[in-house]
Amino acid sequence: MKTYNFAALLVGVPLLMAFSIPLFGFISKQLAKWITVLTLTFEFLFSLYILLWHVYPFNVIMGNWVPPFGENLYIGSLATILIVVISFVGLMISIYNLWSAKYGDVVHFALLFLMFVGGSIGLISTGDIFNVFIFMEITGISSYALAAYGPERRALGGAFKYLVISSIGSTLYLFGVLLIYTQLGTLNIAEIAARISQTTPGLLTFAGILLVAGLAVEAELFPFNGWVPDTYTGAINPVSATLSGIGSVGGVYVLIRIVMTVFGKNGNFVSTYGNLDLMTLIAILGTATVVIGELSALVQTNIKKMLAYSSMAQMGLVAMAFSIGSRLGAYAGIFQLINHSIAKAMLFLILGVIVSFGGERVEDMKGLWYKSPFLAVTFTIGALSLLGLPLFGGFWSKFALVDASFQRGGWYDFIMAIVLFASVVEAFYYLKVVGYIFTSKPAVSEKIKVEISPAIPIAAFAILIIAIGIFPQIVSGISYSAAHELTDKMSGYVLNVIPTIVGH
């Protein structure tokens, strides 16, 4: 067991800075925004250091109480890469916010945003099943408020729906945790994972169902994703970008961690303890989400809603990839998660710039090429990456996904056929927008001037997408070792946290 307690700063710094932002806010509103940028720069650099200098995997141990007795953070390869992604996306959005957050309570917005990012990082790094709940609540509460932010009334409606569904989800999750605790008397993920087979199968099944149902809310899986379209549409664009680029990463991570590490039964393909194979459940949910999301997005005329449904569908795709249960499947899932996070966040940010100059209907995209070539090209890059077309990151993850699912074979062949069909649908609506961008002359020929602070994140995302597209090794290696963490829970996770434990 390797410890590196210094890494507690990853969770601590953003939360600390978040609560001290009102103090800076007294000095200047601008300062509050810059504090966000600085904090997230630190987060990004620190996590990059952990990634590149290969500090991971390690534990953060509070007060010398070794797990399972104390609370710990576990930062393995999966957590590292996801934290890098989250802090990068967060940093970019915070740079974007320098431009976009200009009305209303800017200071509290910065506070909430930082809290959300910090909560998400905590969610990913914690090694305690109850702390997961706490961090879920931190991100949850900050995101309700974030979603309600902005001048529009529909933001309130969206946030309220999010709040209601999300509360149901947290409650279910808490019940699930409770059931497990009554059985095993511990909350440490590693210990539960090692001793999961000692539980009563019936109760375990029920707990598993409750946990999956609760976490599916954040992971945007049908039928627990009713909030997605309204909340994404209602929120201002940087918030939508945050929700899809950061929030959903955390949501999916926890779902997968619980199902694959805690409940997982290792084999050729991971399945779960209990009477009902939760992996199958997730596969069904994921596929249903893909189909429903893509088909709903097909007929949208509001581009933001379209992106929201597409987000939902992509999360379904990710969940479906994890549910394959092989290392390749987990690899594809992680890869797809990263690609989606980057691309979708970029699309929402671009939309934010466009919306500030006009409407958000699909027709309003007409002639974007003539108004702003920069936005047109970057939008196209994002869309093509989501479609899994080559030269862009999405190609590799989709390729890996199809590979994994055909290696699993069986009914996954059928699932894959459905998913590929849904991808054709997806291609249609994205290419339709791309077509509007390039073919039509704009109704008003006013040029869109993109200022420097929104341009930086958009350009950075676009460059990253192309970089991953040309050199998939950037993400490929770390994703593959992260996949190991999920598919072999003992050597990948449990023994790294509690080296002495014996698996049952």
Partner: protein
């Protein structure tokens, strides 16, 4: 650095440069042209057998990727790049909205497709070519229509490539490798044990190839897309991009060699026989639909895939003569289709419309374009001594030698029908009465003229000396393990039933022409009259306000045939795809109703989902 890599990097670099300077039209065109030229120069250095490999850390392993030059790939590379040089040269002065950087990206992808040794890079390049061409089509003359055309193409193309993706993985899971060669030889080895598996896997690939080449029943996108894509891009689409499918077919067709001893139809294995039928039906469908068209680009779109049908029918036989004929026709199709489309583009750029019934008499204004078009359609109709005769003639021989009576008659019918639509286009565009609104139309620029002269020269040269193409084709045929046809000099085409000395035909025709002109010169003098001076059954044109447009018969040229063709038109494959799309959209709009915006419904959904899970868990319990 390997010059194979240069074939990929040069176009990509050119593409980036062109994208950056695309505001400056002429500079962009120059970059595009010079990139093609440089790529061609690199190609000259490349020989069969050159290879380059690297490995990619992906999917948790190091995947070997490679480029390799086979006789087929070098043939294809020369065809596409040389044609691209010509096209971009022609395009220097044209003002179509084609984006050069997309064309160059397509070039990189196409080079890669022809050189790839593994399915991963093949698929990568295939998809790259796909999206680059989709985006390129967006720049058409009419915005909404070109968007529809591109989306139609995109749907078919992406559907096809997903089908290919499934095929790739079904295959690579069996072999554990992406290498094309290993996979194909594995398929050969299980051919006799599991013929249906092989058939299933290969047909997944064939869907993609059929879509790209516009083979029946996936031909429906072709007219829409060609008809609406930017004028400068259509020649590339129809001459070059349709050949990718042919290349794909040739990856898998060698499989059928191992079926030669298994009883099939008329000595042909079943898969070959079926493909021959697909090819023949495509040829007929394309030809028949073509002569009902009034839009010139659409007409030649139909013509284009009709010719692809000929090519497919020939290569599907996979006999020495069939393969030779198919590849030869692929080359000839590139040339004459290029000539036709380039002249059509030239005409459209001058008159500004695509409806043929509103053109007419343009031979008076654009004589060189007219002659190029004439040579182009003469080649397309397979008239000696122009290119196009040899290949068509060999295709017929290849078909006849197998006794495929119905398919052969269909192909022959398609060939005659092609004569019909070519004549109709020829008449409607260039002949007949010249409308006064075209009084100011000028011949195209000097660069265009050079291109046209070059095309005429090429069509005649390769018509008279087919050996220059047949030689490389013979080495391709040899590389597939078939016995190449005998060669006896550059001027000979050796078929199955007979051989033809093109030079002697050419000389006879020339001598006969000299005689004809002599006769023309010695017989009595003529005097030139204006086009109004015409037989009008005794009426005085002015009394009837007769205009040249009214005196031009070209609308609905084959109206009497409508009745005979009507049964054909009742088969609406197009309608099937459209209906399918509509029902998907309908499904989408129904499903979207789940998300009503009412939080109570969402709550019920979530609780309902939970209850269902619990019940499911209970049952399993």
């Amino acid at each position: 650095m390997s010059s194979l890599l240069a074939l990929l990097l040069v176009p990509v670099t050119g593409s980036i440069v062109a994208a950056i300077i695309q505001r400056y039209r002429l500079a962009e065109r120059l970059v595009s042209f010079s990139t093609f030229v440089v790529t061609l120069l690199f190609l000259i250095d490349i020989r069969v057998g050159d290879a380059f490999t690297w490995s990619l850390g992906f999917l948790g392993k190091n995947i070997e990727m490679g480029l390799q030059i086979t006789p087929l790939s070098i043939f294809m590379l020369y065809m596409t790049i040389a044609f691209g040089v010509l096209l971009t040269f022609f395009d220097l002065t044209e003002r179509s909205k084609m984006k050069s950087f997309l064309l160059l990206l397509t070039l990189a992808a196409s080079n890669w497709i022809f050189m790839a040794t593994d399915f991963l890079s093949f698929f990568f390049a295939w998809e790259l070519m796909g999206w680059a061409s989709i985006l390129a089509i967006f720049g058409g003359r009419r915005t909404a229509e070109s968007r529809h055309g591109a989306l139609y193409y995109a749907m078919m193309s992406i559907g096809g490539s997903y089908s290919m993706l499934i095929g790739i993985f079904l295959l690579s899971n069996l072999t554990g490798s992406f290498s094309i060669q290993q996979n194909v030889s594995y398929l050969v080895s299980i051919m006799t044990v599991h013929p249906w598996w092989v058939l299933g896997i290969v047909s997944m690939f064939f869907v993609a190839f059929m879509v790209k080449s516009g083979i029946f029943p996936f031909h429906t996108w072709v007219p829409y897309t060609y008809g609406e894509s930017p004028d400068g891009f259509v020649p590339y689409l129809s001459s070059v991009m349709s050949k990718y499918g042919i290349y794909g077919f040739l990856i898998f067709l060698p499989l059928t060699l191992s079926l030669r001893n298994v009883p099939g139809v008329l000595g042909l294995p079943w898969p070959n026989y079926t493909l021959v039928w697909f090819g023949s039906i495509t040829a007929v469908v394309g030809s028949v639909l073509a002569f009902m068209q009034d839009d010139v680009k659409k007409l030649f779109a139909y013509s284009s895939f009709s010719n692809l049908g000929f090519i497919l029918a020939a290569i599907a036989l996979f006999t020495p003569i069939g393969l030779t004929a198919g590849l030869f026709h692929a080359f000839n199709h590139l040339l004459f289709n290029g000539a036709i489309f380039i002249t059509v583009v030239a005409v459209i750029s001058k008159v500004g419309i695509t409806r043929m019934s509103e053109m007419g008499g343009l031979w008076q204004k654009m004589p060189l374009t007219f002659l190029t078009f004439f040579v182009g359609i003469a080649s397309a109709a397979g008239i000696p001594p122009f290119a196009g005769f040899g290949s068509k003639w060999m295709i017929f021989q290849a078909m006849i030698s197998h006794g495929l009576i119905f398919a052969t008659v269909l192909l022959f019918f398609a060939s005659i029908a092609s004569f019909l639509y070519l004549m109709r286009a020829f008449h409607a565009i260039f002949l007949g009465q010249l409308s006064h609104k075209y009084d100011n139309v000028k011949e195209i620029s000097a660069i265009g003229k050079i291109t046209e002269v070059f095309l005429i020269g090429a069509l005649i040269f390769f018509g008279i000396f087919p050996g220059f193409i047949l030689d490389p084709i013979n080495s391709i045929v040899g590389s597939f393990g078939l016995k190449p046809l005998p060669t006896s000099g550059y001027e000979y085409i050796n078929g199955f039933f007979s051989s033809v000395n093109m030079v002697s035909i050419f000389i006879v025709v020339i001598v006969a022409f000299i005689f004809g002109f002599l006769l023309f010169a010695v017989s009595a003098k003529h005097k030139k009259v204006p086009q109004e001076d015409n037989y009008t059954a005794g009426q005085i044109p002015k009394d009837w306000n007769l205009t040249p447009e009214m005196y031009q018969f070209s609308y609905d040229f084959y109206e009497p045939m409508d009745k005979e063709i009507a049964p054909f038109l009742k088969i609406k494959i197009d309608g099937f795809f459209k209906g399918f799309g509509d029902s998907v959209e309908y499904l989408g709009s129904s499903i979207k109703e789940i998300f009503t915006g009412n939080v109570q419904i969402y709550t019920y959904l979530a609780i309902g989902g939970l209850v269902i899970f619990v019940i499911a868990g209970w049952i399993v319990w």
